[in-house]
């Protein structure tokens, strides 16, 4: 199965599918243009309409009635569907309370509603769209190349294996453990909150996939920690604490045993 899907995602496969699709839509357009386009458009506009309704209820307070932004929230014109999918899909939006940063939490909207919101926001101005699965499938990336790119672009904030790290004044780069590759891709593409964006001109689509492949290798629940307990993967601070608490603790316990008086006959 895996092999089959890997072959299906041969780089050329997407290209062929795209060509076929283009040819097909072109042909269809020529013949059935008015009817089809209308149906398509109406589905799209329906989603936008639904999205606007959801937006007005859940988002407009901070982001303004037309997504133009206010003092409480940035403008959403041109942020694209990918940003909405990330922010709402990971539960960061709607914001629970103002603070140094929006935390990940259980999402409020269903995926269908998120898509509708995304469609509405995308209609406000051109922006990044939600990526195809083939773009962020870890199997398609090279983890070694991804590791190099990760250490160039990401590890300064997210730590060498993506355990997260501190930024200024209480902000933080989150832990990337088991994060859905789609959200990692969208985050790189859109730069949520204080994270800088990495548009395809800075990190190509393949680069992003490599990074996802690397994270999939080193920071998921099934990643190997060859040496044993990883102590959170925070480096020497955790190791030092462990050496003192467990190491010295155990050895002092041994010393206490050695130095303790043996049980006397009278007391036993």
């Amino acid at each position: 199965m895996k092999k089959l899907s890997a072959r299906r995602r041969h780089p050329l496969a997407a290209f062929v599918v795209l060509l076929l699709a283009l040819a097909a839509t072109g042909g269809l357009y020529a013949t059935l243009a008015p009817g089809e386009a209308k149906a398509d458009n109406s589905a799209q506009s329906l989603a936008i309409e639904e999205g606007k309704r959801l937006y007005d209820v859940g988002c407009a307070t901070c982001h303004g009635n037309g997504g133009q932004g206010s003092s409480d929230g940035p403008s959403l014109v041109g942020v694209g569907a990918a940003a909405v999918d990330f922010q709402v899909g990971t539960g960061r939006m709607p914001l629970q309370q103002p603070g140094p940063q929006a935390e990940e939490k259980p999402e409020v909207y269903s995926q269908e509603e998120i898509d509708q919101l995304a469609a509405y926001i995308a209609s406000l101005g051109p922006g990044a769209s939600v990526p195809e699965e083939s773009l962020y499938d870890p199997a398609g990336g090279d983890p070694a190349q991804g590791g190099e790119l990760f250490r160039t672009n990401c590890s300064q904030c997210h730590n060498f294996s993506g355990q997260g790290g501190a930024l200024t004044h209480g902000k933080e780069a989150p832990n990337l453990h088991d994060v859905d590759p789609r959200y990692i891709y969208e985050a790189m593409l859109t730069g949520p909150q204080n994270m800088p964006s990495f548009p395809n001109t800075v990190l190509t689509e393949e680069d992003k996939q490599d990074i996802i492949a690397y994270l999939n290798e080193v920071n998921t629940s099934s990643s190997a920690h060859q040496g044993g307990l990883s102590l959170g993967g925070y480096g020497p601070v955790g190791e030092g604490l462990f050496a003192w608490v467990a190491g010295i603790g155990a050895l002092v316990a041994c010393a206490v045993w050695i130095g303790a008086r043996s049980t006397k006959a009278r007391k036993s």
Partner: protein, 545 residues
């Protein structure tokens, strides 16, 4: 000494062991050595085994270190990794890093030995540290042991630097950042900084020389010196004989405990295996320094959570606490105080502890030998000083891990840094005052106990209706423990005028000494321990409880 001739002549040959001993005696004087040391007494107490944790870790480090050198390649030549760790295949890296990966993933047991080596290093320095704490707080550094304290202190310093050079060798991203820090620190040295940097690195950072050079320092130079110091340290321990706590039968003139052969030999030898076993079990189950996850070092790459091993956490904290002060002197010379001040304070913080015995000896003017370990409460000022130092150490350690605390406890990194900046000046004095008062309180309680006995928990009603708790007098051995310590008098500068009424010249140093000495032993610095007269008056006379 004619016992050998008087011994009954055995028929036939002596046993093989004895013949071997005879042979050795004829060459190196084995029997004389054994006579002095074979039944040597070592007092039994768990706190006397803390130094052994360090000693045995040191042996473990040497054993595992020798194994690692069989495979490690201290070279900074760039190679393309072709080993069996997938997420690095095809990545350019130094040979040093590639060989460290080779040890980890392609030498069976290599990972285990690497992890034992590194865990043992952390525990080694931690062992030295708690051993020093025990010696410090019990005053076991006093005459005649000041020199041995100095040996131990030098071992601590060398251990820190050996650890630092070892941390740098695998040339992973974290070690490279450590080396970069050293480069920056060297560059911050006024006047000669750039020259030193060029000489030490063989040119610009990072160059190709620093790892081979650190390798020699790490495996030969520093451990060689340390080995010599360890031997000297042990010889002096045997020569001085161990200190012990006050207890019945123990005094400044005798040492009481099990003999070297067989009990202490079995316990000390056994403890070596316990330490080795515990460290190996840790290395089997807990990752340390996962170099494969860090990636190779390149000067333009970095990871957050970049920290040194724990024993340099305090120097890291000193740097992280510093405000960004930089002066440009007339003539265009730059003083980078953001590094210069921490680089000066770091050794000072250590040296204060190293020279403390000499300072206390000078203040007290005490020339006697001390073999009975003091209880920390009986020298409140020293104990308070030690605790203040520890609190300073803790504040700097806290600052050194500010990013890790921030992300794990959802705090602001800037707030933690500010807390530590203020705490650096505020916390030690507070700890000093609290500890000193606490010790005095404990002394008062000891005095109470000696004079009025221990609370028995029995309530008695007196004829006129008053309730009192019956106090039981302490047994003699407990009494002895509470009153056997010395209480020194403060050092006095003497009269201001000599016998002719002429003003004597008293140097400010002498005055300072007298003042500090009053801080140690003056009226407010210790509670007079009960005298025999006080005790007898209270117990034999009209004392009603």
């Amino acid at each position: 000494m004619s016992t050998a001739n008087d011994a009954p002549q055995r028929r036939g040959k002596a046993p093989a062991g004895e013949r071997l001993a005879d042979w050795a005696d004829g060459r190196v004087g084995l029997y004389a050595l054994a006579k002095a040391n074979m039944r040597k007494v070592f007092p039994d107490h768990w706190s006397f085994l803390l130094g052994e944790i360090a000693l045995y870790s040191f042996i473990i480090i040497i054993l595992t270190g020798v194994y690692l050198t069989l495979f490690f390649e201290p070279s900074m030549s760039e190679v393309e990794y072709a080993g069996s760790y997938k997420p690095l295949q095809g990545v350019m890296m130094s040979e040093a890093y590639a060989s460290a990966l080779h040890i980890t993933f392609d030498v069976r047991g290599g990972l285990l030995v690497r992890q034992i080596h590194h865990w043992a290093a952390l525990i080694f320095v931690a062992g030295i540290f708690i051993h020093m704490l025990r010696v410090f707080f019990t005053g076991a550094f006093r005459k005649p042991r000041e020199v041995n304290w100095l040996f131990g202190f030098l071992l601590l310093v060398l251990a820190i630097f050996t650890g630092l050079t070892g941390y740098s060798l695998p040339d992973d991203l974290m070690s490279g950042i450590g080396v970069r820090f050293m480069e920056g620190a060297i560059l911050a040295v006024p006047v000669v900084g750039t020259y030193l940097q060029m000489f030490i690195f063989g040119g610009e950072f990072p160059g190709h020389d620093i790892i081979p050079r650190f390798f020699v320092v790490h495996i030969l130079l520093l451990p060689g010196i340390m080995l010599g110091l360890v031997v000297a340290h042990l010889i002096l321990i045997v020569y001085h004989k161990h200190t012990q706590y006050a207890a019945p039968g123990r005094s400044n003139n005798v040492v009481v405990g099990p003999p070297l052969l067989p009990v202490y030999m079995a316990k000390a030898g056994g403890f070596f295996f316990l330490v080795f076993g515990v460290i190996t079990a840790i290395a089997a189950t807990v990752t340390i320094n996962p170099i494969w996850a860090l990636g190779p070092y390149r000067p333009d790459k970095v990871s957050t959570d970049a920290q040194p091993d724990w024993y340099l956490g305090f120097s890291e904290g000193l740097v992280r606490m510093m405000p960004g002060w930089e002066w440009v002197l007339p003539g265009g010379y730059t003083l980078n105080f953001g590094l210069l001040i921490p680089v000066i304070v770091f050794p000072l913080l250590l040296v204060v502890i190293g020279v403390y015995p000499f300072f206390e000896g000078w203040v007290t003017g005490d020339k006697r030998e001390h073999h009975v370990a003091e209880r920390p409460r009986n020298n409140p000022t020293r104990t308070a000083f030690g605790m203040a130092w520890l609190s300073e150490f803790a504040v700097t350690m806290l600052a050194g891990g500010n990013d890790v605390w921030a992300v794990n406890f959802n705090l602001s990194i800037n707030a933690i840094t500010w807390f530590c900046r203020i705490g650096f000046f505020v916390v030690p004095p507070i700890v000093f005052i609290i500890t000193r008062r606490w010790c005095l309180g404990l002394q008062r309680r000891d005095r109470e106990k000696v004079l009025h006995g221990r609370e028995s928990g029995i309530i008695k009603r007196l004829p006129h209706g008053e309730f009192i708790e019956v106090h039981e007098p302490l047994p003699p051995e407990k009494l002895y423990q509470l009153v056997s310590h010395d209480q020194s008098e403060p050092y006095e500068v003497g009269p201001e005028v000599d016998e002719n009424g002429v003003r004597r010249r008293i140097s400010p140093l002498e005055r300072a000494r007298a003042r500090i000495s009053r801080g140690y032993f003056g009226e407010n610095a210790q509670i007079p321990k009960p005298t025999r007269e006080e005790y007898q008056e209270l117990t034999s006379g009209h004392g009603h409880h």
